[in-house]
Amino acid sequence: MSPQTAPPSTAEVPTAQQRDHATTIYERSVPGRRAADLPAAGVPETPIEELIPKSLLRERPAELPEIAEPEIVRHYNRLSRRNFDLDTGMYPLGSCTMKHNPRLNERVAALPGHARLHPAQDPRRAQGALELMWNLQQSLAEICGLPHVSLQPSAGSHGELAGLLLTRAYHADRGEQRTKVLTPDTAHGTNPATVSMAGYEVVRVATSEQGGVDMDDLREKADDQVACLMLTNPNTLGLFDENIAEIAEILHSVGGTLYYDGANLNAIMGRSRPGDMGFDIVHVNLHKSFSQPHGGGGPGSGPIAVSDRIEPFLPKPQVVRTSEGNGSGPTFDLDYDRPKAIGRLRGFQGNFGVFVRSYAYILSLGGDGLQEASETSVLNANYLLSRLSEGRTGKYLPLGVDRRPMHEFVLSASKAKDDLGVKTLDIAKRILDFGFHPPTVYFPLLIEEALLMEPTETETRETLDDFADTLEAVLEEAESDPAIVTGAPYTTPVRRLDEAGAARDPVIRQPLG
C-alpha cells in the first residue's frame, strides 16, 4: 500500500462522525410529538377501568420516545452510518463465515405467503411452507450425510444444546446415565456452557502438535461415563483432523455419541460429510454457510441432522411427508406424536424466515454450486495465507500451527508483540482505519495473540490482495512508529472505548425522569 493512501495516523482533527455526539432516540424526544396514527376503535369508548380493574392497570405510561416519523428515520439512518457492514467491506471473522447475503433471499422471504403466514395456521393451509421446510431438511441431510433433520433450533448454540439433550435421551432410553462430555481445547466458545446446561461435566481433550485431537489423551479419557465428544472439523485452527474416523471409533466403542459443530461446514460442502466421518449429530449454522444475514447479532438458525439411532428423540413437532402418488402429489404435516422426543426447544416451528433464505440459496447454487463455494473458500483462504506468508506479515505474524489450512487459518502476533510492541488488539484496531473489519482476535485460546481469518468464497482476489497489503502496511507502521498502531483507531466514529469502566459501573439503560 502506498503511503498516499494510508489513513490518518493521528486523531488531531476529528472526523465529521466523531464530532457528531451520540444522541439516543430518547434524547430526541419532545413531549407531544408523535408518528403513529391509529385507526378508530369503532366501538364505544368505555373507560378502561370499567373493563379491567384499576389495580391491574399501569399507574403511568411506559416512557417511550415522542418523536415524528421524519426524525425517527433520520435518527436510525444516522446510527446506521456508525456501523461497519459486510456490504461495505471484507469481514474476515474466523469461524463466522461472513459471506455475501444475496438480496434475492430477502425478496423471497418477504413474499406475503411467507412473511404474513401465521405459525398456527392449519397445516393443510400451510402446505407451501411445510414443503419448503421438508425440502430444506432433505437438502441439509444430503449435505451432512445424515438422514434426519430438525429445523427447530434457533441458533448454533441452541443446536448444540439440542444435540446434548438428544444424547441424554438416547442414553436414558438405553437405561444409561452418563456424566461427561469431551470437548477439545480448540472448541467453540459456547460448547462448555452448553455442556453445563445439559447437565454434564466438561472434560478437556488436548490438542496434538499437528493441531488435531491428541489421540493418546482421547483414549485415556474416553470411558463409559463419556456421553459425547463435541468436535468441529475442520477445527477452529482451520485444520481437518485426519484421525476423525479413528476418533469416531473410539467414541462409539465406549457407547458415546459424536457431535459436529457445523460452524466450519463451509469448508467441506460437497467434498466430505460429517455423517460419513462418523458423526451422529450435526448442527448447521444457516447464518454462516447458507447466507442468512447476521443482522448485527441475529437472527440465525441452527438446524440439526442426526443418524437413525438418534432420530426417535428429535424435537417435536417434526415436519413429515404423509402421502404421495395418489394423483394429488405429496402432502405435508406437523407430527406431534413422537413419544421419545426430547420435547420442544422453542415456540412454533423455528425461524422459518431464515429457512426461506437458506433454501433459496441452496436452490440458487445447486449441489455443484455449493461444492464450488466450499472450494473457493478454501482457495481464497490459502491464497490469502500465501500472501501473508511473506514480507513483514510472514515475519511477525506466522501461522499458529504450520500446516495447510482449509477455509480459515490462525496467525499469531506473539512475535509482533515481542519485537514491535504491538499486540493482536492493536493490529485489529489499526485495520479498522484502513476500512476492513479485523479477523477474530484472541481465539482460539490455544494460540497466543491469535488472529483467526476466514475470507469466504465471495471475496475477490483483488480484495484479498488489498487486505494482505493492509496488514503489511500496519506492520510497516509498527516497525517505524509502534505508537501509530497502539493508538489506533483514529478515523472511526468513536475511538478505543473504556470497557472496564462500562463493566465496573454498568449503565445499560437511559436514565429517565
Binding site: 378502561i48 461495505t88 455443484d368
Partner: protein
Amino acid sequence: MTRYTSATNSDREEMLARIGVDSVDDLFSGIPEELRLGRPLDLPDGLSEAEVFDRLRQMSARNTDADSEVSFLGAGMYDHYVPAIVETIISRSEFLTPYTPYQPEVSQGGLQTMFEFQTAMSELTGLPVANAGLYEGPSTAAAAAYLAIGATGRKKLVATRGVHPHTREVLETYSAGYGSEVVEVDLEDGVTQAAALAEAVDDDTAAVFLQQPNFLGSVEDIEALTEVSKAHGALVVVACDPMALSILKPPGQCGADIAFGEGQPLGNRLDYGGPSFGFFGAAEEHLRRMPGRIAGQTTDVDGRRGFVLTLQTREQHIRREKATHNICTAQALNSLAGMIHLAWLGKRGFVELGELLVRRTAYARSKLAEVPGVSLVSDAPVVREFALSLDAPIGEVLDLCAAEGVAAGYRLDREYPEIENGLLVAITERRSVGDIDKLAELLGRAVSVGSEAPREKEAVS
C-alpha cells in the same frame, strides 16, 4: 464461477500457482481418501435468480396468509400493522449485514440501538435491567429458569397452566439438562388461583412461572400471585405480551424478579413463527447473571460517549462451563424492528393502541358470547384475546369458517383438552368491527351446523 463468487478460471490458476499447488484437489488433500465424498451432492442443479423467485413464489402461494383471509389467530404471535419505516430501516445494509458488535469502534449504530432497546424493555417490564434480546419467547423462559436455579441453588420449577403451552414444553425439555422438575398448577375459571399456587410452591422451588395475560387471554392478578410465590423465596418469572404492557401494571411493579416475553408483536412479521426476539428484564440483583448480550454506555479515549458490549465475561468464564448461559445471539435485527415500532407508536400511541385492543376485544367477546352454542371459558378481564367453548366439533367449525375466508382462531383441543371444543380468538387493530361481526355470524352458522342439539340461547339484539 457461481453467482456469488468472482474467481474466474484464470484467477484460479494464478492463485493456485501462488499457493504452490497444482489443483484445488490438492487443497483438500488433508481429507483422507475414504472420507471424501467422491461424487456430486445429490441436489438439483442451481437455478437462475428468476427461476428461484418463481419457484418460491409458487410455493408461497400454497399458503393461506394473513392477507388472504381474515385471521383471528394469536397464541403469542399477532397480526399487528407494522409501520413501513420498520422495513425501510432494517433493510439497510448497515443493520442487515454486520456481525455481532465485536469491534465497538465500528459498531456504534448497533450498540446504541441495543441500548435504546434495553431502555424500552426496562420501561415495558418495569424492571431496572434488560438485555438486548434472546431467541424468541418460550426458550427465553428456559434462560430465566437457568438464572433462577443458579441464584437460588434450587431446582423445582412451578408453572401455571396459564403459561403458554410451548413455554411449559420448553421448560420440560430443558429440565432434562437442568435436573429440574416442572410442576403445573391448574387454572380455575380461566385464571390462576393464589391458593392453588401456594400449595405447589415450597422451599425447593427455584422459580414460579406466570403469564400476563395468560394463555387463555385472562388478566391475572400478578401482585397476589407474586406474594404467595415469594413466601418460600422462589423467584417470580412473568411471561408477558409486550402490547398488553402498554396498559397493564408492569411485572416489576408487581414484585416480579424477571419478566420476559415473545417480541413478535413489536415490529416483527408473522414469518410462520420466526425469526422474532425474546425480551428479558430483571431485578438489579440479577444483572450479572443475566443471559445474552447487553450494551453499556462508556466513553472513548477522547472522552466521547460510546457504547460497548458489557458484562459479557460471564460467557467467557475462565472455566467456560460456568458461564451463565450459552446464548450468544441477540436477535439484534428483530429487536431493532421492535424498537422502531415502539418509537413510531411513541409514549401516547402505545397506550392508545392498548386501549383500542381492550375496547375492541370487549366488543368481540360480548358479541361472540351472544352466539348460540358459544360460551366464554372465563369471565376474567381480557386485553386482546379470549377463550371460547363451542357446542360443535372444533375442527368442523374451523373448516367451515376457513371456507368462508376466516381463520376463526387457535384450536385448544391438543393443549387444553379440559376445555370442550376450545377456541382462542385474538384481536388486533387490523380486525375491524365488520370482521368481528362476520366471525360471529360464521361461528353461529358453523356451530348450528356442527352441533346435533344446539344449546338454547337467547339472541340479544
